[in-house]
Symmetry: C2
Subunit: 143 residues, 2 copies
Protein backbone atom coordinates (compact mmCIF):
# COMPACT_ATOMS: atom_id res chain seq x y z
CA UNK A 1 0.00 0.00 0.00
CA UNK A 2 1.25 3.46 -0.83
CA UNK A 3 2.37 5.54 2.11
CA UNK A 4 1.16 8.88 0.86
CA UNK A 5 0.97 11.69 3.39
CA UNK A 6 -1.75 14.23 2.77
CA UNK A 7 -1.06 17.63 4.33
CA UNK A 8 -4.67 18.82 3.94
CA UNK A 9 -8.12 17.19 3.69
CA UNK A 10 -8.33 18.56 0.16
CA UNK A 11 -5.19 16.63 -0.77
CA UNK A 12 -6.71 13.45 0.61
CA UNK A 13 -9.91 14.12 -1.30
CA UNK A 14 -8.10 14.75 -4.56
CA UNK A 15 -6.19 11.47 -4.13
CA UNK A 16 -9.43 9.63 -3.36
CA UNK A 17 -11.17 10.67 -6.57
CA UNK A 18 -8.00 10.32 -8.60
CA UNK A 19 -7.65 6.72 -7.42
CA UNK A 20 -11.31 6.00 -8.22
CA UNK A 21 -10.89 7.42 -11.71
CA UNK A 22 -7.86 5.21 -12.23
CA UNK A 23 -9.60 2.19 -10.71
CA UNK A 24 -6.64 1.87 -8.33
CA UNK A 25 -7.96 0.10 -5.24
CA UNK A 26 -4.68 0.24 -3.30
CA UNK A 27 -4.25 3.97 -3.89
CA UNK A 28 -7.89 4.57 -2.91
CA UNK A 29 -7.55 2.55 0.30
CA UNK A 30 -4.32 4.42 1.12
CA UNK A 31 -6.47 7.54 1.52
CA UNK A 32 -8.52 5.88 4.28
CA UNK A 33 -7.44 5.80 7.90
CA UNK A 34 -6.28 2.37 8.99
CA UNK A 35 -8.99 2.14 11.59
CA UNK A 36 -11.95 -0.11 12.25
CA UNK A 37 -14.12 2.95 12.91
CA UNK A 38 -14.09 4.01 9.28
CA UNK A 39 -17.37 3.63 7.44
CA UNK A 40 -18.76 3.88 3.98
CA UNK A 41 -22.30 4.15 2.64
CA UNK A 42 -22.61 3.55 -1.10
CA UNK A 43 -25.70 5.04 -2.80
CA UNK A 44 -28.76 3.08 -1.65
CA UNK A 45 -26.62 0.69 0.38
CA UNK A 46 -26.14 -0.15 4.04
CA UNK A 47 -23.34 1.16 6.21
CA UNK A 48 -20.12 -0.77 5.82
CA UNK A 49 -17.60 -0.50 8.64
CA UNK A 50 -13.94 -1.29 9.03
CA UNK A 51 -11.02 -1.46 6.63
CA UNK A 52 -11.64 -5.01 5.35
CA UNK A 53 -15.29 -4.46 4.50
CA UNK A 54 -14.77 -1.00 3.03
CA UNK A 55 -12.00 -2.37 0.84
CA UNK A 56 -14.13 -5.32 -0.27
CA UNK A 57 -17.04 -3.05 -1.22
CA UNK A 58 -14.80 -0.89 -3.39
CA UNK A 59 -13.10 -3.92 -4.89
CA UNK A 60 -16.47 -5.00 -6.21
CA UNK A 61 -17.24 -1.57 -7.61
CA UNK A 62 -13.84 -1.08 -9.20
CA UNK A 63 -13.67 -4.71 -10.32
CA UNK A 64 -16.54 -4.15 -12.74
CA UNK A 65 -14.03 -3.11 -15.35
CA UNK A 66 -15.77 0.21 -15.99
CA UNK A 67 -13.79 3.40 -16.18
CA UNK A 68 -15.49 5.96 -13.97
CA UNK A 69 -15.19 9.69 -14.42
CA UNK A 70 -16.02 12.08 -11.61
CA UNK A 71 -17.01 15.69 -12.05
CA UNK A 72 -17.04 17.27 -8.61
CA UNK A 73 -19.22 20.30 -7.95
CA UNK A 74 -20.72 22.34 -5.16
CA UNK A 75 -18.07 21.62 -2.56
CA UNK A 76 -18.92 22.84 0.92
CA UNK A 77 -16.46 22.41 3.78
CA UNK A 78 -16.80 22.20 7.54
CA UNK A 79 -13.31 22.32 8.93
CA UNK A 80 -11.67 22.02 12.34
CA UNK A 81 -8.15 21.30 13.51
CA UNK A 82 -8.54 17.54 13.60
CA UNK A 83 -11.66 16.68 11.62
CA UNK A 84 -12.99 18.00 8.34
CA UNK A 85 -16.30 17.28 6.62
CA UNK A 86 -16.82 17.91 2.92
CA UNK A 87 -20.12 17.92 1.13
CA UNK A 88 -19.75 17.40 -2.59
CA UNK A 89 -21.84 16.59 -5.66
CA UNK A 90 -20.36 13.75 -7.70
CA UNK A 91 -21.41 13.69 -11.35
CA UNK A 92 -20.31 10.22 -12.37
CA UNK A 93 -20.06 9.03 -15.93
CA UNK A 94 -18.92 5.71 -17.25
CA UNK A 95 -16.59 5.60 -20.25
CA UNK A 96 -18.52 4.30 -23.27
CA UNK A 97 -21.93 5.01 -21.77
CA UNK A 98 -24.11 7.73 -23.22
CA UNK A 99 -26.86 7.93 -20.61
CA UNK A 100 -26.66 10.55 -17.93
CA UNK A 101 -26.62 9.20 -14.40
CA UNK A 102 -28.18 10.93 -11.47
CA UNK A 103 -25.72 12.91 -9.42
CA UNK A 104 -24.60 11.57 -6.08
CA UNK A 105 -24.29 13.66 -2.93
CA UNK A 106 -21.38 12.65 -0.75
CA UNK A 107 -20.36 13.63 2.73
CA UNK A 108 -16.66 12.88 3.07
CA UNK A 109 -15.07 13.09 6.51
CA UNK A 110 -11.34 13.35 7.10
CA UNK A 111 -9.33 12.92 10.29
CA UNK A 112 -5.93 14.42 10.95
CA UNK A 113 -3.76 11.49 11.95
CA UNK A 114 -0.07 11.23 12.77
CA UNK A 115 0.30 10.21 9.12
CA UNK A 116 -1.52 13.19 7.65
CA UNK A 117 -5.18 13.64 6.77
CA UNK A 118 -7.09 10.43 6.08
CA UNK A 119 -10.64 9.66 5.06
CA UNK A 120 -12.72 8.17 7.88
CA UNK A 121 -16.19 8.27 6.34
CA UNK A 122 -17.78 8.41 2.90
CA UNK A 123 -21.57 8.67 2.89
CA UNK A 124 -22.98 8.78 -0.63
CA UNK A 125 -26.61 8.93 -1.66
CA UNK A 126 -28.48 9.37 -4.93
CA UNK A 127 -29.62 12.93 -5.62
CA UNK A 128 -32.68 13.81 -7.69
CA UNK A 129 -32.18 14.40 -11.40
CA UNK A 130 -31.99 17.94 -12.67
CA UNK A 131 -31.46 19.47 -9.28
CA UNK A 132 -28.55 21.80 -9.34
CA UNK A 133 -25.92 21.76 -6.65
CA UNK A 134 -26.13 25.54 -6.44
CA UNK A 135 -27.86 26.49 -3.18
CA UNK A 136 -29.64 29.37 -4.90
CA UNK A 137 -31.11 27.08 -7.52
CA UNK A 138 -31.95 24.38 -5.01
CA UNK A 139 -33.97 27.08 -3.30
CA UNK A 140 -36.08 27.45 -6.41
CA UNK A 141 -37.03 23.79 -6.38
CA UNK A 142 -38.38 24.11 -2.85
CA UNK A 143 -40.89 26.90 -3.46
CA UNK B 1 -36.05 30.13 19.73
CA UNK B 2 -34.81 28.21 22.72
CA UNK B 3 -31.31 29.01 23.89
CA UNK B 4 -30.33 25.53 24.94
CA UNK B 5 -26.63 24.89 25.48
CA UNK B 6 -25.47 21.38 24.71
CA UNK B 7 -22.30 20.36 26.56
CA UNK B 8 -21.68 17.34 24.31
CA UNK B 9 -22.56 16.28 20.74
CA UNK B 10 -24.64 13.48 22.28
CA UNK B 11 -26.73 16.07 24.13
CA UNK B 12 -27.32 17.95 20.89
CA UNK B 13 -28.27 14.72 19.14
CA UNK B 14 -30.70 13.70 21.87
CA UNK B 15 -32.35 17.14 21.65
CA UNK B 16 -32.54 16.85 17.85
CA UNK B 17 -34.45 13.55 17.86
CA UNK B 18 -36.53 14.58 20.85
CA UNK B 19 -37.66 17.70 18.98
CA UNK B 20 -38.46 15.66 15.86
CA UNK B 21 -40.53 13.23 17.90
CA UNK B 22 -42.45 16.12 19.41
CA UNK B 23 -42.78 17.85 16.05
CA UNK B 24 -41.26 20.95 17.63
CA UNK B 25 -39.65 22.89 14.78
CA UNK B 26 -38.24 25.65 16.98
CA UNK B 27 -36.61 23.20 19.37
CA UNK B 28 -35.20 21.23 16.43
CA UNK B 29 -33.76 24.34 14.79
CA UNK B 30 -32.26 25.40 18.14
CA UNK B 31 -29.99 22.37 17.84
CA UNK B 32 -28.54 23.65 14.54
CA UNK B 33 -25.70 26.15 14.37
CA UNK B 34 -26.88 29.59 13.29
CA UNK B 35 -24.68 29.48 10.22
CA UNK B 36 -25.23 29.57 6.47
CA UNK B 37 -22.77 26.70 6.06
CA UNK B 38 -25.12 24.18 7.64
CA UNK B 39 -26.61 21.63 5.30
CA UNK B 40 -29.20 18.91 5.27
CA UNK B 41 -29.87 16.03 2.88
CA UNK B 42 -33.24 14.36 3.39
CA UNK B 43 -33.55 10.77 2.10
CA UNK B 44 -33.50 10.87 -1.71
CA UNK B 45 -33.38 14.65 -1.74
CA UNK B 46 -30.91 17.30 -2.81
CA UNK B 47 -28.58 19.17 -0.48
CA UNK B 48 -30.26 22.05 1.28
CA UNK B 49 -27.99 24.75 2.69
CA UNK B 50 -28.39 27.57 5.17
CA UNK B 51 -30.65 28.14 8.13
CA UNK B 52 -33.69 29.42 6.21
CA UNK B 53 -33.80 26.54 3.74
CA UNK B 54 -33.06 23.87 6.32
CA UNK B 55 -35.82 25.24 8.52
CA UNK B 56 -38.27 25.36 5.61
CA UNK B 57 -37.53 21.75 4.64
CA UNK B 58 -38.22 20.54 8.17
CA UNK B 59 -41.31 22.72 8.47
CA UNK B 60 -42.77 20.83 5.52
CA UNK B 61 -41.89 17.45 7.03
CA UNK B 62 -43.14 18.28 10.51
CA UNK B 63 -46.14 20.16 9.14
CA UNK B 64 -47.59 16.93 7.76
CA UNK B 65 -49.30 16.37 11.07
CA UNK B 66 -47.80 12.91 11.51
CA UNK B 67 -46.26 11.89 14.78
CA UNK B 68 -42.87 10.39 14.05
CA UNK B 69 -41.11 7.92 16.31
CA UNK B 70 -37.39 7.33 16.04
CA UNK B 71 -35.61 4.21 17.18
CA UNK B 72 -31.91 4.89 16.96
CA UNK B 73 -29.45 2.05 16.54
CA UNK B 74 -25.90 1.26 15.56
CA UNK B 75 -24.41 4.55 16.63
CA UNK B 76 -20.80 5.05 15.56
CA UNK B 77 -18.89 8.18 16.55
CA UNK B 78 -15.92 10.04 15.10
CA UNK B 79 -14.98 12.65 17.63
CA UNK B 80 -12.49 15.50 17.85
CA UNK B 81 -12.19 18.58 20.04
CA UNK B 82 -14.26 20.82 17.79
CA UNK B 83 -16.14 18.61 15.36
CA UNK B 84 -17.95 15.33 15.87
CA UNK B 85 -19.54 13.03 13.29
CA UNK B 86 -22.14 10.44 14.23
CA UNK B 87 -23.37 7.65 12.04
CA UNK B 88 -26.72 6.31 13.10
CA UNK B 89 -29.53 4.09 11.88
CA UNK B 90 -32.94 5.73 12.23
CA UNK B 91 -35.87 3.32 12.37
CA UNK B 92 -38.77 5.67 11.82
CA UNK B 93 -42.37 4.80 12.43
CA UNK B 94 -45.45 6.93 12.05
CA UNK B 95 -48.10 6.83 14.75
CA UNK B 96 -51.17 5.01 13.40
CA UNK B 97 -49.31 3.38 10.53
CA UNK B 98 -48.76 -0.37 10.53
CA UNK B 99 -46.34 -0.76 7.63
CA UNK B 100 -42.65 -0.97 8.36
CA UNK B 101 -40.57 1.69 6.73
CA UNK B 102 -37.06 1.19 5.49
CA UNK B 103 -34.44 2.34 7.92
CA UNK B 104 -32.55 5.54 7.21
CA UNK B 105 -28.81 5.94 7.63
CA UNK B 106 -27.82 9.36 8.88
CA UNK B 107 -24.50 11.08 9.23
CA UNK B 108 -24.92 13.86 11.77
CA UNK B 109 -22.12 16.36 12.21
CA UNK B 110 -21.75 18.64 15.22
CA UNK B 111 -19.56 21.68 15.76
CA UNK B 112 -18.39 22.98 19.11
CA UNK B 113 -19.42 26.63 19.10
CA UNK B 114 -19.17 29.32 21.73
CA UNK B 115 -22.75 28.35 22.57
CA UNK B 116 -22.10 24.66 22.99
CA UNK B 117 -22.29 21.81 20.48
CA UNK B 118 -24.56 22.43 17.50
CA UNK B 119 -25.58 20.39 14.50
CA UNK B 120 -24.00 21.58 11.27
CA UNK B 121 -24.93 18.74 8.91
CA UNK B 122 -27.54 16.01 8.65
CA UNK B 123 -27.12 13.67 5.69
CA UNK B 124 -29.82 11.00 5.59
CA UNK B 125 -30.32 8.30 2.98
CA UNK B 126 -32.59 5.30 2.61
CA UNK B 127 -31.04 2.00 3.65
CA UNK B 128 -32.01 -1.36 2.18
CA UNK B 129 -34.74 -3.33 3.94
CA UNK B 130 -33.76 -6.17 6.22
CA UNK B 131 -30.16 -5.13 6.48
CA UNK B 132 -29.08 -4.97 10.05
CA UNK B 133 -27.09 -2.09 11.42
CA UNK B 134 -24.74 -4.54 13.08
CA UNK B 135 -21.42 -4.51 11.23
CA UNK B 136 -21.04 -8.26 11.70
CA UNK B 137 -24.38 -8.93 10.09
CA UNK B 138 -23.79 -6.38 7.33
CA UNK B 139 -20.70 -8.42 6.58
CA UNK B 140 -22.85 -11.41 5.91
CA UNK B 141 -24.81 -9.61 3.23
CA UNK B 142 -21.62 -8.85 1.34
CA UNK B 143 -20.36 -12.38 0.91
Amino acid sequence: MKQALFPTPQDAEAAFYDALTKGDLDAMMAVWADDDDIYCVHPGGPRISGVAQVRESWRRILGGGQTLRFQLRGQQYLHSMMLSAHSIYEHISVAGETRTRNPVIATNIYLRTERGWRMVAHHASPAPVAVSEEPRRVTKTLH
